[in-house]
C-alpha cells in the first residue's frame, strides 16, 4: 500500500468516525426529545404542592396523593369500562378481520373485486359521519350513556372488516400449494383454515389482537358520542379529557398525569413484549398497502 492511499484511507476512517459520532449525538438528542414528555408526565404525577399546571418539571413536594385521590373519583369505573371494551374488541375484531382477510386472500369469487373496491370507496367517507346516526340508534336500543360499553364494543367491532389490508398481505405470502395439497387429501376449506393456515399465522394474529386492543384503549371520538353526558359510561380518554377543561384543570391536572401513567403502563408493557410482531405487521402492511 502506498503512502498516499494509506493516508486517504485514514482520512476516510476519521471522516466516518466523525459522522458516526455526530449521528450518535443526534440519536441521543432525538431520544431525549421523544422521552421528555413521558418523563414529565411521570414526574408531575408525583407532585403534591400544586394540582394545576405549572411552569416547572421537578415536584417540590413528592408524594402519591394524586394516585390515592384518583381512586376516589370515577376513574376506576372508566378504567374498567375501557378495559372491558378493549378486551372484547380485541377478541371479536380479530375474528372478523381474520375472516375477511383470509377470504379475500384465499378465494377467488365473482364479487371479490367489487367488494374490495366498494370498501375502498366506503373508506373515503369520514367515519365520524356515521356516528351521528349510530348514536341515535344505540340510544333507542338503550346502549348509550351508562350502558355505553356494549354499545361501544358493537361500534368498534362491527365495521372492523374494512381494516383487512395488513393481514390479507400476510395471508398472501403463505403459499397456495399448502392449500392445494390439503385439498387433494380431501380436507374441507374450513379444515384447511383451522389445521394449516391458523397455526402458521401466529404473528399476524398477535399483531391484529394488539392493534385491536389499542384502538379502544385510546379512543376518544366514538366514546365521546356514546357516553354523552354521563360519567358512568365514560372511558379513560373522555374522562381524562374532561379533567383538562377550564373549570377543572387547576384541581385535576396532576390527577390527569397520574391517570395517564396508569393508562399508559399496561399497553407499554404489552408492547415491550410484542414489539417484534407489531414491527412486522407495520412494515409488511405499508409495502403491500
Amino acid at each position: 500500500m502506498s503512502e498516499a492511499t494509506a493516508k486517504r484511507h485514514m482520512g476516510l476512517k476519521t471522516s466516518r468516525a466523525i459522522s458516526n459520532t455526530a449521528i450518535h449525538v443526534l440519536l441521543i438528542v432525538i431520544s431525549i426529545i421523544w422521552l421528555i414528555p413521558f418523563v414529565c408526565i411521570v414526574l408531575q404525577s408525583f407532585r403534591v404542592e400544586n394540582t394545576g399546571p405549572v411552569g416547572y418539571v421537578m415536584p417540590k413536594v413528592w408524594g402519591t396523593d394524586n394516585y390515592v385521590k384518583l381512586f376516589q373519583t370515577d376513574f376506576p369505573r372508566w378504567y374498567t369500562n375501557t378495559f372491558i371494551a378493549a378486551l372484547a374488541t380485541a377478541v371479536l375484531q380479530t375474528i372478523i378481520v381474520l375472516c375477511m382477510s383470509y377470504t379475500l386472500s384465499r378465494f377467488r369469487f365473482k364479487m371479490r373485486q367489487p367488494l374490495m373496491r366498494f370498501m375502498l370507496i366506503l373508506g373515503m367517507f369520514p367515519g365520524m359521519l356515521s356516528m351521528i346516526i349510530l348514536y341515535r340508534v344505540l340510544k333507542d336500543l338503550g346502549l348509550t350513556q351508562a350502558n355505553a360499553v356494549p354499545g361501544l364494543i358493537l361500534v368498534y367491532v362491527a365495521s372492523s372488516g374494512m381494516g383487512y389490508y395488513v393481514s390479507k398481505g400476510f395471508f398472501d405470502t403463505i403459499p397456495m400449494s399448502l392449500d392445494e395439497a390439503a385439498r387433494v387429501d380431501g380436507a374441507t376449506r374450513a379444515k384447511i383454515l383451522y389445521k394449516i393456515i391458523l397455526p402458521l399465522s401466529k404473528p399476524i394474529v398477535i399483531y391484529t389482537v394488539l392493534t385491536a386492543f389499542m384502538g379502544p384503549w385510546g379512543d376518544y371520538v366514538f366514546a365521546r358520542y356514546i357516553a354523552f353526558g354521563t360519567s358512568a359510561g365514560k372511558n379513560v380518554a373522555v374522562g381524562l379529557y374532561d379533567w383538562l377543561n377550564k373549570d377543572q384543570i387547576s384541581n385535576c391536572y396532576t390527577m390527569f398525569c397520574a391517570g395517564g401513567v396508569l393508562v399508559a403502563l399496561p399497553v407499554t408493557i404489552l408492547f415491550l413484549f410484542l414489539q417484534k410482531y407489531y414491527v412486522e405487521g407495520v412494515t409488511g402492511g405499508a409495502v403491500k398497502g
Binding site: F107, A158, T283
Partner: protein, 515 residues
C-alpha cells in the same frame, strides 16, 4: 398538447420533461372525463340488456317449466320442497313469509311516509286526569327515514332471493332431465364449510359493514337533503323534512350571514385550504424525517441499533390522547415550554401558542411540528423495513463509480422508496386530511377564527374539515344537515385526490404481483 416521440422526449431538459408530463396530464383531463361518461353509458347499456335478458329468462322459465316451477313463482321454495330439497325449500319459504308479514305489519307504513318524513309532529294537549298539559308524540322522522331506507334494501333483497328461487327451479329441472341427482340438504351443509366457505366467512363481517357503515353513510347522505338539526330532531320537538339542495346552496354560497359575518363558502374554502396544507406537510415532513432517522439508525457503525428503535417504538404504545393532551398543556401559556423559555431569559413574555388569533400561523406551524413528534416513530418503522430490502449491490456499484452519499440517496434510495411506498403515501395523505385526533386533542381548533365563527359554529384556525364537522354536531344547534354536507364534500375531495394520484403514480401494481 401533442404527444412527443420517445426520442424527442429524451432530448428535453429535466424541467421541460416535468412540464411536459404535467401538460399531458392536464390536457388529458377532458378526454378522461369523456371516457368516464362513455364508460357509464356503456355500463348502462350493458345493464339494460342484462335486465332484458333476465326478464326473458324469467318468462321462459315460467312458460316452459312444469307445474312445480310455476307454483314456485308464487310460493317460494315450493319447487325445492316438491323435489326433495327440504332445507333449501324451507329457507326460501321462511324468507317469503317473513318478508310479507314485515311489509304488511310495518314496511308499508315506513315506505308510505318516506316522501313526507312524517305528517304529524308532537302536540300538547290538556290532560284532565293529570290536570296538566302533556305532550303526545306522533310521527318520528328519524325512524321513518331509517326504516324507509332499510325497507327499500329489504325489498331489493327479496327480489334477488326470488330470482335465485326461479333460477334454482330451472336448474333443478335441467339436472333431473339429464338423469342426475339433486344436491341433498347434507350436501348443502357440507358446502357451507367447503365450496361456499367464503360466504360463511364473509357473512358476519359484511353484515357488520352493511349495518354499521353502509346504512349510516347512506342515511347521512340523505340527511344532507333534509333540515335535520337540534331543533328539528324529528320526534320530540319538531319533525324534519326534505329541503332539496338548500343545504348545498347554503354551504357553497358566497353571500355573508347576518351581521357582516363570513359566508359559509368562504369559511369552507379557508378550512379546506388549511386541511390540504396540513395534510401535505403532515405527510411529507413525517415521511422524510422518519426516513432520515431510519437511515441514521441503519448506518454502519452505529451502536445500540435495537435500543434506539425500541425507544421510538415505545412512544407509539402510549395512547395518543395522553401524549397529545399532555403536549398541548406543555405548550400552554403557563406550561413547561413557556416556563423553560422564560427561565432561560430567551423570551420576556409567555407565548400563547394556540390562543393567539392574531398569529394563526404560529398555532398552525406548532401543530405541524408536534405532529412530527407523533409521526416519526411510525414512519421510522415502516421505512426501516423497506430500506433493508434495497439490494446492497446497487450501493456497492454506485460507490465504485464514485457517487457521494447524497447522490446515492437521490438516485437509489429515494426513487426506490417512492416507488414502493407510493400507495402508502396516498393513504397517509387522505388519512391526515381526516386526522381528528391530532388536531382536536392538541388545539381543539384554537385559536378561534372570529370572522368565520359566528356564521358556522366556532371554527378555529387549526380546524380541519373533520373537526369542524364534529363541532357542528356537538353544539346545541347540532346542524346535522350541514355536517352531512361537509362529510359529502370531504368524500368528494378525497376521492378526487385519490383518483388523480392513482392515475399519476408509476407504481400502481397488479395485486397479483405480490403472490
Amino acid at each position: 398538447m401533442t404527444q412527443l416521440s420517445d426520442l424527442e422526449f429524451l432530448k428535453l431538459s429535466k424541467g421541460q420533461k416535468f412540464g411536459y408530463r404535467l401538460g399531458r396530464f392536464f390536457t388529458g383531463i377532458p378526454k378522461a372525463i369523456g371516457n368516464f361518461f362513455l364508460k357509464i353509458g356503456n355500463g348502462l347499456k350493458k345493464a339494460g340488456s342484462a335486465i332484458g335478458r333476465e326478464f326473458a329468462d324469467i318468462v321462459n322459465t315460467f312458460i316452459h317449466g312444469d307445474w312445480k316451477t310455476k307454483l314456485s313463482f308464487f310460493i317460494m321454495g315450493f319447487g325445492c320442497l316438491a323435489r326433495g330439497q327440504i332445507l333449501r325449500g324451507l329457507l326460501f319459504l321462511l324468507f317469503e313469509i317473513v318478508f310479507i308479514s314485515y311489509m304488511i305489519l310495518s314496511g308499508g307504513y315506513w315506505l308510505s311516509m318516506l316522501p313526507s318524513l312524517g305528517k304529524v309532529g308532537p302536540s300538547e294537549e290538556y290532560n284532565e286526569v293529570l290536570d296538566a298539559y302533556t305532550t303526545t308524540y306522533h310521527d318520528n322522522s328519524f325512524q321513518i327515514l331509517l326504516y324507509g331506507v332499510l325497507t327499500i334494501f329489504f325489498i331489493i333483497a327479496f327480489i334477488y332471493t326470488w330470482r335465485v328461487n326461479v333460477k334454482q327451479n330451472k336448474m333443478a329441472e335441467k339436472i333431473l332431465a339429464s338423469g342426475k341427482k339433486l344436491k341433498s340438504g347434507k350436501d348443502d351443509l357440507r358446502s357451507v364449510v367447503d365450496d361456499q366457505f367464503h360466504k360463511t366467512l364473509l357473512a358476519l363481517p359484511v353484515t357488520g359493514i352493511f349495518i354499521f357503515t353502509v346504512l349510516p353513510i347512506l342515511f347521512m347522505i340523505l340527511v344532507a337533503f333534509t333540515n335535520y338539526d337540534g331543533t328539528h330532531n324529528g320526534y320530540t320537538n319538531s319533525l324534519f323534512t326534505w329541503v332539496g339542495l338548500d343545504n348545498f346552496n347554503t354551504m357553497l354560497s358566497w353571500s355573508g350571514g347576518s351581521g357582516g359575518t363570513q359566508s359559509y363558502a368562504a369559511t369552507f374554502g379557508e378550512v379546506l385550504i388549511w386541511t390540504l396544507i396540513w395534510a401535505f406537510f403532515a405527510t411529507f415532513t413525517n415521511y422524510f424525517l422518519g426516513m432520515f432517522v431510519a437511515m441514521a439508525i441503519n448506518k454502519k457503525g452505529i451502536k445500540f441499533k435495537k435500543g434506539w428503535r425500541t425507544i421510538l417504538v415505545l412512544t407509539i404504545a402510549i395512547p395518543q390522547f395522553i401524549s397529545l393532551l399532555y403536549v398541548s398543556k406543555m405548550f400552554a401559556k403557563n406550561g413547561i415550554i413557556n416556563g423553560f423559555l422564560l427561565d432561560m431569559g430567551w423570551i420576556t413574555q409567555a407565548i400563547d401558542f394556540f390562543g393567539d388569533a392574531s398569529r394563526p400561523w404560529l398555532a398552525r406551524v406548532t401543530v405541524i411540528l408536534i405532529n412530527i413528534w407523533i409521526g416519526i416513530p411510525y414512519l421510522m418503522l415502516i421505512t426501516t423495513g423497506i430500506l433493508m430490502n434495497i439490494p446492497a449491490d446497487l450501493y456497492e456499484s454506485a460507490k465504485i463509480d464514485g457517487a457521494s452519499g447524497w447522490q446515492q440517496y437521490r438516485k437509489i434510495t429515494l426513487p426506490y422508496m417512492l416507488f414502493v411506498t407510493g400507495p402508502y403515501l396516498l393513504t397517509s395523505f387522505t388519512g391526515n386530511m381526516n386526522n381528528f385526533n391530532v388536531i382536536y386533542l392538541l388545539t381543539a381548533g384554537a385559536p378561534t377564527n372570529a370572522a368565520a365563527s359566528s356564521a358556522s359554529g366556532s371554527v378555529g384556525y387549526t380546524d380541519l374539515l373533520i373537526t369542524w364537522l364534529f363541532k357542528i354536531t356537538m353544539g346545541a344547534e347540532s346542524k346535522y344537515y350541514l355536517a352531512s354536507v361537509i362529510g359529502i364534500l370531504v368524500f368528494v375531495v378525497v376521492a378526487l385526490i385519490s383518483l388523480i394520484v392513482y392515475n399519476l403514480l408509476p407504481s400502481i401494481k397488479n395485486e397479483e404481483d405480490f403472490r
